[in-house]
Protein backbone atom coordinates (compact mmCIF):
# COMPACT_ATOMS: atom_id res chain seq x y z
CA UNK A 1 0.00 0.00 0.00
CA UNK A 2 1.32 3.44 -0.83
CA UNK A 3 0.09 6.31 1.24
CA UNK A 4 2.81 8.82 0.57
CA UNK A 5 0.55 11.24 -1.33
CA UNK A 6 -1.14 12.40 1.87
CA UNK A 7 -1.94 16.12 1.66
CA UNK A 8 -1.75 16.74 5.38
CA UNK A 9 -3.03 20.20 6.18
CA UNK A 10 -3.47 19.97 9.91
CA UNK A 11 -0.67 17.77 11.20
CA UNK A 12 1.45 19.26 13.95
CA UNK A 13 5.04 18.05 14.18
CA UNK A 14 5.68 15.07 16.43
CA UNK A 15 6.21 16.17 20.04
CA UNK A 16 8.47 14.85 22.79
CA UNK A 17 6.91 13.42 25.96
CA UNK A 18 8.60 13.42 29.31
CA UNK A 19 7.57 11.50 32.44
CA UNK A 20 9.46 12.25 35.64
CA UNK A 21 8.69 10.31 38.78
CA UNK A 22 5.10 9.81 37.70
CA UNK A 23 2.88 7.87 40.10
CA UNK A 24 -0.83 7.31 40.47
CA UNK A 25 -2.54 6.23 43.65
CA UNK A 26 -6.28 5.78 43.87
CA UNK A 27 -7.83 6.93 47.15
CA UNK A 28 -9.43 4.47 49.51
CA UNK A 29 -13.07 3.68 48.85
CA UNK A 30 -15.39 3.04 51.81
CA UNK A 31 -12.97 1.84 54.42
CA UNK A 32 -10.73 0.03 51.97
CA UNK A 33 -7.06 0.78 51.53
CA UNK A 34 -5.69 3.24 49.01
CA UNK A 35 -4.45 1.55 45.88
CA UNK A 36 -1.03 2.34 44.45
CA UNK A 37 -1.18 1.56 40.74
CA UNK A 38 1.89 3.32 39.36
CA UNK A 39 5.04 4.66 40.99
CA UNK A 40 8.31 6.31 39.96
CA UNK A 41 7.83 6.18 36.20
CA UNK A 42 10.81 7.80 34.53
CA UNK A 43 10.72 7.98 30.74
CA UNK A 44 11.78 10.36 27.96
CA UNK A 45 10.10 9.80 24.61
CA UNK A 46 11.65 11.42 21.52
CA UNK A 47 9.52 13.14 18.86
CA UNK A 48 8.34 10.63 16.26
CA UNK A 49 9.34 7.67 18.35
CA UNK A 50 7.06 4.63 18.74
CA UNK A 51 7.07 3.33 22.31
CA UNK A 52 5.23 0.18 23.31
CA UNK A 53 4.08 -0.16 26.93
CA UNK A 54 4.11 -3.86 27.63
CA UNK A 55 2.99 -5.72 30.70
CA UNK A 56 0.58 -8.26 32.09
CA UNK A 57 -3.13 -7.42 32.19
CA UNK A 58 -4.11 -5.05 34.95
CA UNK A 59 -0.57 -3.80 35.62
CA UNK A 60 -1.43 -0.14 34.99
CA UNK A 61 -0.51 0.29 31.32
CA UNK A 62 -3.81 1.92 30.45
CA UNK A 63 -3.64 4.05 33.60
CA UNK A 64 -0.25 5.34 32.48
CA UNK A 65 -1.64 6.15 29.03
CA UNK A 66 -4.50 8.05 30.63
CA UNK A 67 -1.96 10.17 32.54
CA UNK A 68 -0.26 11.13 29.27
CA UNK A 69 -3.60 11.93 27.59
CA UNK A 70 -4.64 14.21 30.44
CA UNK A 71 -7.87 12.23 31.00
CA UNK A 72 -6.48 11.38 34.43
CA UNK A 73 -3.93 13.20 36.59
CA UNK A 74 -0.90 11.66 38.26
CA UNK A 75 -0.74 11.92 42.04
CA UNK A 76 3.05 12.20 41.93
CA UNK A 77 5.71 13.48 39.55
CA UNK A 78 5.51 15.68 36.47
CA UNK A 79 4.38 14.92 32.98
CA UNK A 80 5.06 17.18 29.99
CA UNK A 81 4.40 17.20 26.28
CA UNK A 82 6.81 19.42 24.36
CA UNK A 83 8.18 20.71 27.69
CA UNK A 84 4.86 22.12 28.95
CA UNK A 85 2.64 20.40 31.46
CA UNK A 86 -0.12 18.12 30.22
CA UNK A 87 -3.53 19.82 30.46
CA UNK A 88 -6.81 18.03 31.27
CA UNK A 89 -7.83 16.19 28.07
CA UNK A 90 -4.75 17.68 26.39
CA UNK A 91 -5.50 18.53 22.78
CA UNK A 92 -1.92 18.00 21.61
CA UNK A 93 -2.45 14.30 21.97
CA UNK A 94 -5.22 12.07 20.64
CA UNK A 95 -6.41 8.71 21.93
CA UNK A 96 -7.66 5.58 20.24
CA UNK A 97 -9.31 3.64 23.03
CA UNK A 98 -9.37 -0.06 23.71
CA UNK A 99 -12.98 -0.10 22.48
CA UNK A 100 -13.74 1.91 19.33
CA UNK A 101 -16.17 4.18 21.25
CA UNK A 102 -17.93 5.39 18.12
CA UNK A 103 -21.14 7.38 18.39
CA UNK A 104 -23.70 4.83 17.17
CA UNK A 105 -26.02 7.41 15.60
CA UNK A 106 -23.31 9.00 13.44
CA UNK A 107 -21.96 7.65 10.19
CA UNK A 108 -18.35 6.55 9.91
CA UNK A 109 -17.39 9.85 8.25
CA UNK A 110 -19.19 11.92 10.89
CA UNK A 111 -17.45 9.94 13.63
CA UNK A 112 -14.05 10.72 12.15
CA UNK A 113 -15.16 14.36 11.97
CA UNK A 114 -15.37 14.41 15.77
CA UNK A 115 -11.58 14.22 15.90
CA UNK A 116 -10.98 17.25 13.68
CA UNK A 117 -9.34 20.28 15.27
CA UNK A 118 -11.68 23.20 16.02
CA UNK A 119 -11.68 26.07 13.59
CA UNK A 120 -11.24 24.02 10.46
CA UNK A 121 -13.71 25.17 7.79
CA UNK A 122 -16.27 22.75 6.37
CA UNK A 123 -14.54 22.06 3.07
CA UNK A 124 -11.14 21.49 4.66
CA UNK A 125 -12.78 19.24 7.25
CA UNK A 126 -14.53 17.15 4.62
CA UNK A 127 -11.27 16.84 2.67
CA UNK A 128 -9.38 15.78 5.75
CA UNK A 129 -12.00 13.16 6.63
CA UNK A 130 -11.94 11.76 3.08
CA UNK A 131 -8.15 11.63 3.20
CA UNK A 132 -8.16 9.75 6.52
CA UNK A 133 -10.78 7.26 5.38
CA UNK A 134 -8.57 6.64 2.35
CA UNK A 135 -5.61 6.13 4.69
CA UNK A 136 -7.41 3.50 6.78
CA UNK A 137 -9.00 2.03 3.63
CA UNK A 138 -12.57 2.80 4.58
CA UNK A 139 -13.64 5.24 1.84
CA UNK A 140 -16.33 2.78 0.77
CA UNK A 141 -17.82 2.72 4.29
CA UNK A 142 -18.02 6.49 4.86
CA UNK A 143 -21.82 6.52 4.92
CA UNK A 144 -22.33 3.45 7.13
CA UNK A 145 -23.34 3.48 10.79
CA UNK A 146 -21.09 1.77 13.38
CA UNK A 147 -23.52 -1.12 13.86
CA UNK A 148 -23.20 -1.91 10.15
CA UNK A 149 -19.43 -2.44 10.15
CA UNK A 150 -17.13 -5.10 11.58
CA UNK A 151 -15.00 -4.78 14.73
CA UNK A 152 -11.83 -4.34 12.68
CA UNK A 153 -13.42 -1.59 10.62
CA UNK A 154 -14.65 0.13 13.77
CA UNK A 155 -11.11 0.12 15.19
CA UNK A 156 -9.85 1.70 11.96
CA UNK A 157 -12.51 4.39 12.26
CA UNK A 158 -11.37 4.99 15.82
CA UNK A 159 -7.78 5.25 14.58
CA UNK A 160 -8.77 7.67 11.82
CA UNK A 161 -10.63 9.80 14.37
CA UNK A 162 -7.54 9.93 16.57
CA UNK A 163 -5.42 10.92 13.56
CA UNK A 164 -7.87 13.56 12.36
CA UNK A 165 -6.24 16.53 14.03
CA UNK A 166 -2.75 15.38 13.13
CA UNK A 167 -1.83 15.01 16.81
CA UNK A 168 1.69 15.59 18.06
CA UNK A 169 1.29 12.51 20.24
CA UNK A 170 -0.86 9.54 19.31
CA UNK A 171 -1.93 7.35 22.22
CA UNK A 172 -3.16 3.85 21.39
CA UNK A 173 -4.69 1.74 24.15
CA UNK A 174 -4.57 -1.87 22.96
CA UNK A 175 -6.26 -0.71 19.78
CA UNK A 176 -6.08 -4.12 18.13
CA UNK A 177 -6.61 -6.24 21.24
CA UNK A 178 -10.13 -7.32 20.44
CA UNK A 179 -9.42 -8.22 16.81
CA UNK A 180 -8.79 -11.64 15.34
CA UNK A 181 -5.16 -12.59 14.73
CA UNK A 182 -5.24 -11.96 10.98
CA UNK A 183 -6.94 -8.59 11.16
CA UNK A 184 -4.50 -7.59 13.90
CA UNK A 185 -1.51 -8.22 11.62
CA UNK A 186 -3.11 -6.18 8.82
CA UNK A 187 -3.81 -3.35 11.25
CA UNK A 188 -0.22 -3.38 12.51
CA UNK A 189 1.04 -3.00 8.95
CA UNK A 190 -1.46 -0.21 8.45
CA UNK A 191 -0.14 1.57 11.53
CA UNK A 192 3.39 1.36 10.14
CA UNK A 193 2.15 2.94 6.90
CA UNK A 194 0.29 5.65 8.79
CA UNK A 195 3.33 6.46 10.89
CA UNK A 196 5.36 6.87 7.72
CA UNK A 197 2.70 9.16 6.21
CA UNK A 198 2.08 11.18 9.39
CA UNK A 199 4.96 10.66 11.77
CA UNK A 200 3.53 11.41 15.21
CA UNK A 201 5.04 10.29 18.48
CA UNK A 202 3.18 7.09 19.30
CA UNK A 203 2.67 5.48 22.68
CA UNK A 204 1.10 2.07 22.25
CA UNK A 205 -0.27 -0.02 25.10
CA UNK A 206 -0.24 -3.72 24.38
CA UNK A 207 0.01 -7.09 26.06
CA UNK A 208 1.07 -8.71 22.82
CA UNK A 209 4.84 -9.21 22.71
CA UNK A 210 4.88 -9.73 18.93
CA UNK A 211 2.90 -6.58 18.34
CA UNK A 212 5.38 -4.59 20.41
CA UNK A 213 8.29 -6.14 18.52
CA UNK A 214 6.75 -5.41 15.12
CA UNK A 215 5.93 -1.80 15.81
CA UNK A 216 8.03 -0.20 18.52
CA UNK A 217 11.37 1.57 18.52
CA UNK A 218 11.52 0.89 22.22
CA UNK A 219 9.61 -1.49 24.42
CA UNK A 220 8.92 -0.37 27.97
CA UNK A 221 8.10 -3.23 30.28
CA UNK A 222 5.91 -2.45 33.28
CA UNK A 223 6.01 -4.74 36.27
CA UNK A 224 5.52 -4.98 40.01
CA UNK A 225 8.13 -6.10 42.51
CA UNK A 226 6.95 -8.47 45.17
CA UNK A 227 8.09 -6.28 48.03
CA UNK A 228 6.48 -3.00 46.82
CA UNK A 229 2.97 -2.18 45.61
CA UNK A 230 2.56 -0.25 42.34
CA UNK A 231 3.93 -0.98 38.90
CA UNK A 232 6.98 0.74 37.53
CA UNK A 233 9.35 0.32 34.60
CA UNK A 234 11.18 -2.95 34.97
CA UNK A 235 13.00 -3.01 31.64
CA UNK A 236 13.48 -0.88 28.51
CA UNK A 237 14.46 -2.64 25.30
CA UNK A 238 15.62 -1.04 22.05
CA UNK A 239 14.20 -2.85 19.05
CA UNK A 240 16.55 -2.74 16.06
CA UNK A 241 15.53 -2.71 12.42
CA UNK A 242 13.49 -0.47 10.16
CA UNK A 243 9.75 -1.14 9.79
CA UNK A 244 8.15 -3.16 8.30
CA UNK A 245 10.14 -5.84 10.06
CA UNK A 246 10.62 -9.48 9.36
CA UNK A 247 8.56 -10.99 12.16
CA UNK A 248 10.64 -14.17 12.07
CA UNK A 249 14.10 -12.59 12.21
CA UNK A 250 16.67 -14.05 14.59
CA UNK A 251 17.11 -10.78 16.47
CA UNK A 252 13.40 -10.40 17.16
CA UNK A 253 13.15 -14.04 18.18
CA UNK A 254 15.85 -13.52 20.75
CA UNK A 255 14.19 -10.33 22.05
CA UNK A 256 10.86 -12.14 22.24
CA UNK A 257 12.44 -14.84 24.44
CA UNK A 258 13.89 -12.17 26.69
CA UNK A 259 10.54 -10.33 27.01
CA UNK A 260 8.54 -13.48 27.66
CA UNK A 261 11.08 -14.45 30.27
CA UNK A 262 10.72 -11.07 31.95
CA UNK A 263 6.94 -11.48 31.85
CA UNK A 264 7.32 -14.81 33.59
CA UNK A 265 6.28 -16.95 30.62
CA UNK A 266 8.64 -19.74 29.59
CA UNK A 267 9.56 -19.07 25.95
CA UNK A 268 10.78 -22.62 25.15
CA UNK A 269 13.28 -20.84 22.88
CA UNK A 270 16.50 -22.75 22.22
CA UNK A 271 15.61 -25.20 24.95
Amino acid sequence: MSSSSSSVTVATPALPVSLRGVGRTFPAVRGGEERIVLRDIQLEIAPGEIVALLGPSGCGKSTLLRQISGLDRPTAGTLTIDRTAVAPADQRSAVAFQEPRLLPWRTVARNVELGLPRGLDRRQGAERVAELLELVQLSHAAGLKPREISGGMAQRVSLARALARGPGVLLLDEPFGALDALTRLTMQDLLVDIHRAEPATIVLVTHDVDEALALADRIVLLGTRHDRPGATISMILDVPGARPRDRASVVLTRLRAKLLDALGVPSHHGA
Partner: protein, 296 residues
Amino acid sequence: MSFDERGGAPVRRPSTEGRRSASLFQFVSGYGYSAAGRDLPEVSRGRTTVTTILLGLVLPVLILAVWWVAAESGAIPDYLLPSPPQVVAAGVELAQAGLLATYILISVQRVLLGFAIGAAIGLVLGALVGLSPLASKLLAPLLGAIRAVPSLAWVPLLTIYLGIYEEPKITLIAIGAAFPVFTTVAGALRHVDPHLVEAGQAFGLGRLALLSTVQLPAVVPSIVSGLRLALAQAWLFLVAAELIASSMGLGFLLIDSQNNGRIDRLFLAIILLGVLGKTTDALVGLGERALLQRWG
Protein backbone atom coordinates in the same frame (compact mmCIF):
# COMPACT_ATOMS: atom_id res chain seq x y z
CA MET B 1 -60.75 8.32 35.83
CA SER B 2 -58.38 5.66 34.60
CA PHE B 3 -58.00 6.36 30.97
CA ASP B 4 -55.10 4.17 30.05
CA GLU B 5 -56.77 0.81 29.85
CA ARG B 6 -58.80 1.02 26.73
CA GLY B 7 -59.85 -2.44 25.79
CA GLY B 8 -59.96 -3.38 22.18
CA ALA B 9 -57.79 -0.59 20.86
CA PRO B 10 -55.50 -2.05 18.21
CA VAL B 11 -52.07 -2.18 19.81
CA ARG B 12 -49.06 -2.12 17.54
CA ARG B 13 -47.13 -5.22 18.35
CA PRO B 14 -43.38 -5.46 18.77
CA SER B 15 -41.87 -6.88 15.65
CA THR B 16 -40.27 -10.24 16.05
CA GLU B 17 -37.27 -9.35 13.95
CA GLY B 18 -36.00 -6.74 16.46
CA ARG B 19 -32.62 -7.88 17.70
CA ARG B 20 -32.17 -5.61 20.71
CA SER B 21 -34.29 -6.31 23.74
CA ALA B 22 -37.36 -4.23 24.30
CA SER B 23 -37.09 -1.08 26.36
CA LEU B 24 -38.45 -0.66 29.83
CA PHE B 25 -40.79 2.08 28.74
CA GLN B 26 -42.93 0.04 26.45
CA PHE B 27 -43.86 -2.17 29.37
CA VAL B 28 -44.42 0.77 31.67
CA SER B 29 -46.61 2.77 29.37
CA GLY B 30 -49.53 0.41 28.89
CA TYR B 31 -50.37 2.88 26.20
CA GLY B 32 -49.35 1.10 23.11
CA TYR B 33 -46.06 -0.17 22.01
CA SER B 34 -43.11 2.20 21.89
CA ALA B 35 -40.43 1.45 19.35
CA ALA B 36 -37.74 3.14 21.42
CA GLY B 37 -34.88 1.03 22.64
CA ARG B 38 -34.98 -1.57 19.95
CA ASP B 39 -34.10 -1.92 16.32
CA LEU B 40 -36.60 -0.61 13.88
CA PRO B 41 -38.55 -3.32 12.17
CA GLU B 42 -37.74 -3.70 8.52
CA VAL B 43 -39.89 -1.58 6.27
CA SER B 44 -42.97 -3.71 6.46
CA ARG B 45 -44.10 -5.57 3.41
CA GLY B 46 -47.53 -4.35 2.36
CA ARG B 47 -49.21 -7.64 3.09
CA THR B 48 -48.01 -7.86 6.68
CA THR B 49 -49.26 -4.35 7.38
CA VAL B 50 -52.71 -5.17 6.07
CA THR B 51 -52.81 -8.38 8.12
CA THR B 52 -51.70 -6.48 11.23
CA ILE B 53 -54.39 -3.84 10.79
CA LEU B 54 -57.07 -6.47 10.14
CA LEU B 55 -56.04 -8.46 13.21
CA GLY B 56 -56.12 -5.30 15.29
CA LEU B 57 -59.68 -4.65 14.12
CA VAL B 58 -61.00 -8.11 15.00
CA LEU B 59 -61.78 -7.41 18.67
CA PRO B 60 -63.23 -3.90 18.23
CA VAL B 61 -65.57 -5.17 15.51
CA LEU B 62 -66.55 -8.15 17.65
CA ILE B 63 -67.27 -5.92 20.64
CA LEU B 64 -69.29 -3.59 18.42
CA ALA B 65 -71.36 -6.53 17.15
CA VAL B 66 -72.04 -7.90 20.64
CA TRP B 67 -72.90 -4.43 21.87
CA TRP B 68 -75.28 -3.89 18.96
CA VAL B 69 -77.05 -7.19 19.42
CA ALA B 70 -77.30 -6.73 23.19
CA ALA B 71 -78.77 -3.25 22.81
CA GLU B 72 -81.17 -3.98 19.92
CA SER B 73 -82.50 -7.20 21.40
CA GLY B 74 -83.74 -5.31 24.41
CA ALA B 75 -81.86 -7.62 26.78
CA ILE B 76 -80.36 -4.52 28.38
CA PRO B 77 -82.60 -1.45 28.63
CA ASP B 78 -81.42 1.52 26.60
CA TYR B 79 -81.08 3.83 29.60
CA LEU B 80 -78.19 1.52 30.57
CA LEU B 81 -76.85 0.62 27.14
CA PRO B 82 -77.62 2.76 24.10
CA SER B 83 -77.36 1.11 20.70
CA PRO B 84 -74.60 2.16 18.28
CA PRO B 85 -77.06 4.04 16.03
CA GLN B 86 -78.28 5.99 19.07
CA VAL B 87 -74.70 6.99 19.87
CA VAL B 88 -74.15 8.07 16.26
CA ALA B 89 -77.39 10.03 16.37
CA ALA B 90 -76.23 11.74 19.57
CA GLY B 91 -73.06 12.74 17.76
CA VAL B 92 -74.99 14.09 14.76
CA GLU B 93 -77.28 16.04 17.07
CA LEU B 94 -74.34 17.61 18.91
CA ALA B 95 -72.62 18.38 15.63
CA GLN B 96 -75.71 20.13 14.27
CA ALA B 97 -75.86 22.23 17.40
CA GLY B 98 -72.27 23.21 16.64
CA LEU B 99 -71.06 21.74 19.93
CA LEU B 100 -69.24 18.59 18.87
CA ALA B 101 -66.47 20.31 16.91
CA THR B 102 -66.07 22.94 19.65
CA TYR B 103 -65.75 20.31 22.37
CA ILE B 104 -63.26 18.24 20.43
CA LEU B 105 -61.17 21.24 19.38
CA ILE B 106 -61.02 22.78 22.85
CA SER B 107 -60.01 19.44 24.39
CA VAL B 108 -57.35 18.81 21.75
CA GLN B 109 -56.05 22.35 22.17
CA ARG B 110 -55.79 21.94 25.95
CA VAL B 111 -54.00 18.63 25.61
CA LEU B 112 -51.52 19.91 23.04
CA LEU B 113 -50.74 23.15 24.89
CA GLY B 114 -50.40 21.44 28.26
CA PHE B 115 -48.35 18.67 26.73
CA ALA B 116 -45.97 21.10 24.98
CA ILE B 117 -45.43 23.21 28.10
CA GLY B 118 -45.12 20.22 30.39
CA ALA B 119 -42.75 18.36 28.07
CA ALA B 120 -40.50 21.42 27.76
CA ILE B 121 -40.35 21.84 31.54
CA GLY B 122 -39.77 18.12 32.00
CA LEU B 123 -36.95 18.18 29.46
CA VAL B 124 -35.16 21.07 31.17
CA LEU B 125 -35.58 19.64 34.68
CA GLY B 126 -34.62 16.18 33.47
CA ALA B 127 -31.47 17.53 31.84
CA LEU B 128 -30.52 19.41 35.02
CA VAL B 129 -31.07 16.47 37.34
CA GLY B 130 -29.54 13.97 34.92
CA LEU B 131 -26.38 15.96 34.27
CA SER B 132 -25.61 17.73 37.54
CA PRO B 133 -25.22 15.74 40.75
CA LEU B 134 -25.77 18.96 42.70
CA ALA B 135 -29.05 19.73 40.92
CA SER B 136 -30.06 16.12 41.44
CA LYS B 137 -29.51 16.33 45.19
CA LEU B 138 -31.35 19.66 45.36
CA LEU B 139 -34.30 18.89 43.09
CA ALA B 140 -34.93 15.16 43.07
CA PRO B 141 -36.57 14.83 46.52
CA LEU B 142 -38.85 17.82 45.97
CA LEU B 143 -39.88 16.72 42.49
CA GLY B 144 -40.47 13.21 43.73
CA ALA B 145 -42.85 14.56 46.38
CA ILE B 146 -44.69 16.76 43.90
CA ARG B 147 -45.07 13.83 41.57
CA ALA B 148 -46.58 11.78 44.37
CA VAL B 149 -49.46 14.27 44.77
CA PRO B 150 -52.55 12.80 43.06
CA SER B 151 -53.61 14.85 40.05
CA LEU B 152 -57.04 15.75 41.45
CA ALA B 153 -55.49 17.26 44.57
CA TRP B 154 -54.22 20.16 42.48
CA VAL B 155 -57.60 21.11 41.10
CA PRO B 156 -59.04 23.18 43.98
CA LEU B 157 -55.78 25.07 44.47
CA LEU B 158 -55.36 25.77 40.76
CA THR B 159 -58.97 26.97 40.58
CA ILE B 160 -58.40 29.44 43.43
CA TYR B 161 -55.12 30.69 42.00
CA LEU B 162 -55.85 30.67 38.28
CA GLY B 163 -59.60 30.95 37.97
CA ILE B 164 -61.90 28.69 36.01
CA TYR B 165 -60.86 29.30 32.45
CA GLU B 166 -58.04 27.81 30.42
CA GLU B 167 -55.08 28.51 32.70
CA PRO B 168 -55.79 26.02 35.49
CA LYS B 169 -56.64 23.25 33.01
CA ILE B 170 -53.54 23.73 30.92
CA THR B 171 -51.44 24.00 34.07
CA LEU B 172 -52.83 20.74 35.39
CA ILE B 173 -52.16 18.97 32.09
CA ALA B 174 -48.64 20.44 32.00
CA ILE B 175 -47.99 19.06 35.50
CA GLY B 176 -49.15 15.67 34.30
CA ALA B 177 -47.06 15.76 31.14
CA ALA B 178 -43.88 17.07 32.75
CA PHE B 179 -43.15 14.09 34.99
CA PRO B 180 -42.86 11.23 32.49
CA VAL B 181 -40.45 13.35 30.43
CA PHE B 182 -38.53 14.44 33.52
CA THR B 183 -38.17 10.89 34.85
CA THR B 184 -37.11 9.26 31.59
CA VAL B 185 -34.72 12.03 30.53
CA ALA B 186 -33.03 12.33 33.92
CA GLY B 187 -32.63 8.57 34.16
CA ALA B 188 -31.35 8.20 30.62
CA LEU B 189 -28.85 11.07 30.89
CA ARG B 190 -27.46 9.58 34.08
CA HIS B 191 -26.81 6.35 32.24
CA VAL B 192 -25.26 7.59 29.01
CA ASP B 193 -22.28 5.34 28.27
CA PRO B 194 -19.41 6.96 30.23
CA HIS B 195 -17.01 5.66 27.60
CA LEU B 196 -18.68 7.80 24.93
CA VAL B 197 -18.69 10.82 27.21
CA GLU B 198 -14.99 10.38 27.92
CA ALA B 199 -14.27 9.98 24.20
CA GLY B 200 -16.06 13.27 23.61
CA GLN B 201 -14.00 14.95 26.32
CA ALA B 202 -10.80 13.47 24.90
CA PHE B 203 -11.58 15.10 21.57
CA GLY B 204 -11.94 18.48 23.18
CA LEU B 205 -15.70 18.84 23.56
CA GLY B 206 -16.69 21.36 26.24
CA ARG B 207 -19.74 20.97 28.48
CA LEU B 208 -22.27 22.35 26.00
CA ALA B 209 -20.75 20.67 22.96
CA LEU B 210 -20.65 17.42 24.88
CA LEU B 211 -24.34 17.80 25.68
CA SER B 212 -25.37 18.46 22.09
CA THR B 213 -22.93 16.04 20.45
CA VAL B 214 -22.97 13.05 22.76
CA GLN B 215 -25.41 13.17 25.65
CA LEU B 216 -28.61 14.45 24.02
CA PRO B 217 -28.37 12.26 20.90
CA ALA B 218 -27.71 9.28 23.14
CA VAL B 219 -30.97 9.82 25.01
CA VAL B 220 -33.20 10.58 22.01
CA PRO B 221 -34.92 7.18 22.20
CA SER B 222 -35.66 7.75 25.90
CA ILE B 223 -36.90 11.28 25.27
CA VAL B 224 -39.29 9.94 22.67
CA SER B 225 -40.55 7.26 25.05
CA GLY B 226 -41.01 9.91 27.72
CA LEU B 227 -42.95 12.12 25.30
CA ARG B 228 -45.25 9.27 24.46
CA LEU B 229 -45.98 8.58 28.10
CA ALA B 230 -46.44 12.31 28.68
CA LEU B 231 -49.05 12.50 25.95
CA ALA B 232 -51.00 9.67 27.56
CA GLN B 233 -50.79 11.51 30.89
CA ALA B 234 -51.96 14.71 29.19
CA TRP B 235 -55.23 13.06 28.12
CA LEU B 236 -55.65 11.60 31.59
CA PHE B 237 -55.21 14.99 33.24
CA LEU B 238 -57.43 16.66 30.64
CA VAL B 239 -60.41 14.62 31.74
CA ALA B 240 -59.52 15.30 35.38
CA ALA B 241 -59.47 19.03 34.66
CA GLU B 242 -62.64 19.09 32.59
CA LEU B 243 -64.65 16.92 34.96
CA ILE B 244 -64.27 19.43 37.76
CA ALA B 245 -64.73 22.85 36.36
CA SER B 246 -65.51 23.53 32.75
CA SER B 247 -68.27 24.42 30.34
CA MET B 248 -66.73 22.91 27.22
CA GLY B 249 -64.75 19.89 26.18
CA LEU B 250 -65.06 16.12 26.22
CA GLY B 251 -64.64 15.87 29.98
CA PHE B 252 -67.45 18.37 30.40
CA LEU B 253 -69.54 16.32 27.98
CA LEU B 254 -69.01 13.32 30.27
CA ILE B 255 -70.13 15.02 33.47
CA ASP B 256 -72.92 16.96 31.73
CA SER B 257 -74.29 13.75 30.18
CA GLN B 258 -74.17 12.00 33.53
CA ASN B 259 -76.17 14.80 35.12
CA ASN B 260 -78.78 14.75 32.33
CA GLY B 261 -78.94 10.99 32.05
CA ARG B 262 -77.76 11.10 28.43
CA ILE B 263 -76.01 7.76 28.33
CA ASP B 264 -75.75 7.93 24.52
CA ARG B 265 -73.61 11.06 24.82
CA LEU B 266 -71.61 9.42 27.60
CA PHE B 267 -70.73 6.57 25.24
CA LEU B 268 -69.94 9.08 22.50
CA ALA B 269 -67.54 11.00 24.74
CA ILE B 270 -65.73 7.86 25.87
CA ILE B 271 -65.37 6.59 22.30
CA LEU B 272 -64.12 9.98 21.12
CA LEU B 273 -61.53 10.11 23.92
CA GLY B 274 -60.32 6.66 22.92
CA VAL B 275 -60.10 7.50 19.25
CA LEU B 276 -58.42 10.88 19.81
CA GLY B 277 -55.93 9.47 22.32
CA LYS B 278 -55.00 6.64 19.98
CA THR B 279 -54.68 9.04 17.04
CA THR B 280 -52.34 11.48 18.80
CA ASP B 281 -50.33 8.53 20.10
CA ALA B 282 -50.04 7.13 16.58
CA LEU B 283 -48.86 10.52 15.31
CA VAL B 284 -46.14 10.66 17.97
CA GLY B 285 -45.31 7.08 17.01
CA LEU B 286 -44.72 8.20 13.42
CA GLY B 287 -42.44 10.98 14.62
CA GLU B 288 -40.70 8.47 16.84
CA ARG B 289 -39.89 6.22 13.90
CA ALA B 290 -38.43 9.12 11.96
CA LEU B 291 -36.32 10.18 14.95
CA LEU B 292 -35.07 6.68 15.64
CA GLN B 293 -34.19 6.28 11.99
CA ARG B 294 -31.87 9.24 12.49
CA TRP B 295 -30.62 8.68 16.05
CA GLY B 296 -31.46 5.12 16.98
